[in-house]
Symmetry: C2
């Protein structure tokens, strides 16, 4: 097997690309979609009850929020605690692992703000 002969530069190029694609694909698999990051962000800012989350994450239905919360819990991003009492209190907290997402959220927030600004200025210059 002559890995280094032939097109070594091209090969390294492709492998690097594949590595990055795999990593981003893994990330998208875990936290992609329309809602997971939004729920994590809302929770990081003190929305810990189902109704608070539904209010904060605009447009999410109760059915979808419920299934997203289950997935996030199953994958270790959040912790659900039930406190006995009348009525029973159910709260959701971020698992410390969610904080590893800070850089991703930061980069997306920054880009989203710039992008909105760009769209806005393009629109106003087209008026």
């Amino acid at each position: 097997m002559e890995h280094t002969e032939g097109q070594p530069a091209n090969k390294a190029f492709t492998e690097d690309c594949t590595k990055v694609l795999n990593a981003v694909s893994d990330a998208l698999y875990a936290i992609g979609g329309k809602w997971k990051l939004m729920i994590i962000i809302a929770m990081a800012r003190g929305n810990n009850r189902f109704t608070d989350l539904q209010k904060q994450v605009t447009g999410i239905s109760a059915r979808v929020l419920s299934s997203e919360l289950k997935e996030l819990e199953m994958n270790g991003f959040i912790v659900r605690t039930v406190t006995a009492g009348y009525p029973v209190t159910i709260e959701y907290q971020l698992h410390p692992y969610s904080h590893t997402l800070e850089k991703v959220v930061g980069a997306m927030t920054e880009w989203g703000m710039q992008h909105r600004e760009k769209i806005r200025s393009e629109r106003s210059s087209n008026l």
Copy 2:
């Protein structure tokens, strides 16, 4: 309207949360979904033809790749050039605007790699 009275701290808190959620929502709207970032990454690494992109972005169908390319072009992330000749050559290049996504891609790559490592070590410790 007494914006600053009542619960000023809470209000700032909520507004900040809403700002971040709006920004991330804008970002997800523009580059969310399973494929757009993957296509941009593959293109940034020299895959400029339809068939190269389809080979590099594992699992994408020709139909989906075609519609994703159209959307990316419409939203100013990529440029499609047709070169006369026999046969006609069609190439896709990143528009410089796509490079504003570098931090997002970098953060997601790093996180995806760490996440894969975590899943792997959890699996092997469960054997």
